[in-house]
């Protein structure tokens, strides 16, 4: 195997400033080269000797070329994300951990021959060599739903244009619009294959907008978090009212909206910097740095509802009917209505059970109640 001529030329053009990258080090002093890898080192090489020496550590050379020439973008979220895709060291990371230290080049090259799988929310990303039989260092990326990890590619709808991801992300499996892109309701049954690094990042930008940028900020320790009070006070127009939402209601809101079952983002914002919410922020893979527009819109509704006074009402229910109200609310809150079987009258949220309760306990205004604190 010989070092590709253009690789060598590119490399030589870059060596004047020295190269230190992923274990490869090349220096030139007075026309003599020094070459170092973690396994070996050579000194006093002329150009021909350097070429010979590089043949024994070609993986380091092609790895250097892929990252420095093909990917580029030093310091960008795109580059760090692509490095994460193959367990490469993440020099941008604020704290070096076993995860950010990553794999050395030979181990990565072994793994890239089979493909390296990484998860990103409900996405599974495979990084692999373009040419598995004669890898020249160039990588491509395949992307699909984690649920399709074991599916045959021929059973999936295959795409190669990142913009096709927009349509995939629009509706859930029941055909309902997904206004929250990080809701755990991404449909499966599709695959993107052979994407370049830039295309992979663009595709994920449509599926999970801004998650890579915010992950990268978190990695570098500069995620800018806007807590509830800052976000609420900033609002104007019809959302001006949301800073009236009572403190405890913000807890309830976070519990309702920002749970792992509803959103893959991990809530990092709190009530304010010194006042944390009672509920856990979840274990989502992407940091959530401020209340999203859906939370703001819902907060407006709750701010208006919470401005109402509480009253005491009297209504007559059997114990089972009272329990049934709990079942009904739970079923809606957990999105379980579709699972309740038509004839399962043992389930309090069964449609016939609900219709019976309505027939028995409703008058023309709804639930028959008497306000007793007038």
């Amino acid at each position: 195997m010989t070092v590709a001529t253009d690789d060598l030329e590119t490399l030589l053009a870059r060596t004047s400033d020295g190269i230190t990258f992923d274990g490869l080090r090349i220096e030139t002093v007075d026309g003599e080269y020094t070459l170092e890898t973690p396994d070996n080192e050579w000194h006093g090489l002329d150009e021909a000797a350097l070429e010979d020496a590089l043949e024994t550590c070609e993986e380091y050379l092609t790895n250097w070329r892929y990252w420095q020439e093909t990917v580029g973008g030093e310091g960008t979220a795109r580059r760090s994300f692509l490095r994460r895709c193959e367990h490469a060291p993440l020099p941008d990371a604020e704290e070096q951990t076993t995860t950010t230290e990553g794999l050395a080049v030979p181990a990565r090259y072994d793994a890239l021959r089979d493909g390296i799988d990484r998860q990103w929310g409900q996405l599974s990303i495979t990084a692999r060599f373009v040419d598995v039989d004669a890898p020249d260092g160039e990588r491509v990326y395949d992307l699909w739903h984690v649920d399709d990890a074991d599916s045959d590619l021929t059973d999936l709808e295959v795409y190669d244009d990142p913009r096709d991801a927009r349509e995939i992300a629009t509706d859930d499996g029941d055909g309902r619009y997904r206004p929250l892109k990080t809701a755990p309701t991404l449909v499966s049954g599709w695959a993107f294959t052979g994407l370049s690094g830039a295309e992979l990042v663009e595709t994920i930008g449509f599926l999970y907008p801004a998650t890579i940028a915010n992950w990268h900020r978190e990695l570098r320790g500069n995620l800018d978090i806007d807590h509830w009070t800052e976000t609420a006070e900033r609002q104007t127009g019809i959302y001006d009212v949301i800073d009236d939402l009572p403190r405890e209601a913000v807890d309830w809101m976070a519990e309702a909206c920002c749970a792992d079952s509803q959103c893959l983002r991990r809530r990092e914002w709190e009530y304010d910097e010194d006042d944390t919410l009672d509920v856990d922020g979840g274990d989502g893979p992407f940091p959530c740095r401020e209340p999203c527009s859906l939370v703001i819109a819902a907060a407006r509704k709750w701010a208006i509802l919470e401005s109402e006074e509480e009253h005491t009402y009297e209504l007559e229910l059997t114990t089972s009917e009272l329990n049934q109200l709990t079942d009904l609310i739970d079923a809606v809150a957990d999105g379980r209505l579709d699972e309740i079987r038509e004839a399962d009258v043992n389930d309090g949220a069964n449609r016939y059970r609900a219709r019976y309760l309505r027939a028995k306990r409703f008058d023309e205004d709804g639930l028959e109640t008497t306000q007793v604190d007038e």
């Binding site: 892109k181 907008p209 819109a297």
Partner: protein, 301 residues
């Protein structure tokens, strides 16, 4: 490197609200004029708040896909983009003459050229005329035809009506259509009485809205008497009081809107090469207009 951000309203309820934004962004992507093109939304993702950080370019042109200068373009978008030195005075506008302001976004350290909305750009006049051409399937439309430009009106801010009147006046000066009138949904002259304001037998009605939704697909067709019930659709043209009304929905879906976006960015200093020509060459077919009803809450939810 230079990037373009198209800033639009979007919707939590109606998936179609962002279609024109994506369509115009794609048209511009294909010209290759910008290293990066990104859509950003108030109600969808990426949100205005987080769009700039997704870009690698240091110079960013932000073009609001909004009709008028007002609450969204003067307050919401600059605030959410963190343009901390923003002041509407920087546009030095009379309500329809905003061009751009150059600012820093303080979370990213990039130069942001914050442009006026597409709706008040002079090139928008051409888009309205093109919409009339596509509605009547006649590239020379004008003779014997009245043109109504329909807007929301003043309930939100006075500039909303100004943008409608501005383009109507410009179209009138071209002497292309027999008549050109500005009509409104919630003020006089009202679109409900469209036939009272025209003498021409053929009236082409162009709503100056960015996206199709409740107003353009439900209210306006019913108000004009094109249909009893928007869900049943309507004919183009539809007969009303002996007039033929040609109505096809929001002008914002017209392919030539991409050209207005490009012009806004170019006015702010973007190097767009011959992208405008490329867009003008292809926009007859870029975005299919449709008069099929599409239910939804549109922009207002």
């Amino acid at each position: 490197m230079q990037a373009l951000v198209i800033a639009a309203h979007g919707s939590h309820l109606n998936p179609d609200a962002s279609d024109p934004t994506y369509a115009h962004a794609d048209t511009i992507r294909e010209t290759g004029a910008f290293d990066e093109v990104r859509e950003a939304f108030w109600k969808e993702e990426p949100h205005f708040r987080e769009v700039i950080r997704t870009l690698e370019a240091d110079e960013v042109f932000v073009v609001p896909l909004f009709i008028s200068e007002g609450y969204f373009t003067e307050q919401v978008i600059p605030r959410e983009l963190r343009l901390k030195d923003w002041d509407p005075e920087k546009w030095d506008s009379d309500g329809t003459s905003a061009s751009q302001a150059t600012l820093e976004a303080d979370d990213v350290g990039k130069t942001i050229h914050y442009c006026g909305p597409v709706g008040t750009h002079d090139a928008m006049t051409d888009v309205i005329v093109q919409r009339a051409e596509t509605a009547m399937e006649d590239p020379d439309v004008g003779d014997g035809v009245g043109l109504a430009v329909v807007g929301h009106g003043t309930d939100r801010n006075e500039n909303s009506a100004k943008a409608i009147e501005y383009h109507t006046e410009r179209i009138g000066e071209r002497d292309r259509f027999d008549e050109a009138k500005a009509l409104f949904m919630d003020e006089e002259p009202e679109v409900d009485d469209v036939t009272d304001y025209f003498e021409s037998d053929d009236i082409v009605v162009v709503p100056l809205f960015i996206a199709d939704g409740y107003h353009t697909q439900e209210d306006i067709p019913e108000d004009m008497g094109l249909t009893e019930d928007y869900r049943l659709g309507w004919d183009v043209p539809a007969e009303v009081d002996g007039y033929r009304i040609w109505y096809t929905g929001a002008v914002g879906t017209e392919g030539l809107m991409a050209d207005v976006v490009l012009e806004r960015a170019a006015d702010a200093g973007a190097d767009i090469g011959d992208a405008r020509k490329a867009v003008r060459d292809r926009t007859d077919t870029t975005v299919e207009s449709s008069h099929e009803p599409s239910a939804g809450a549109g922009m207002g939810d």
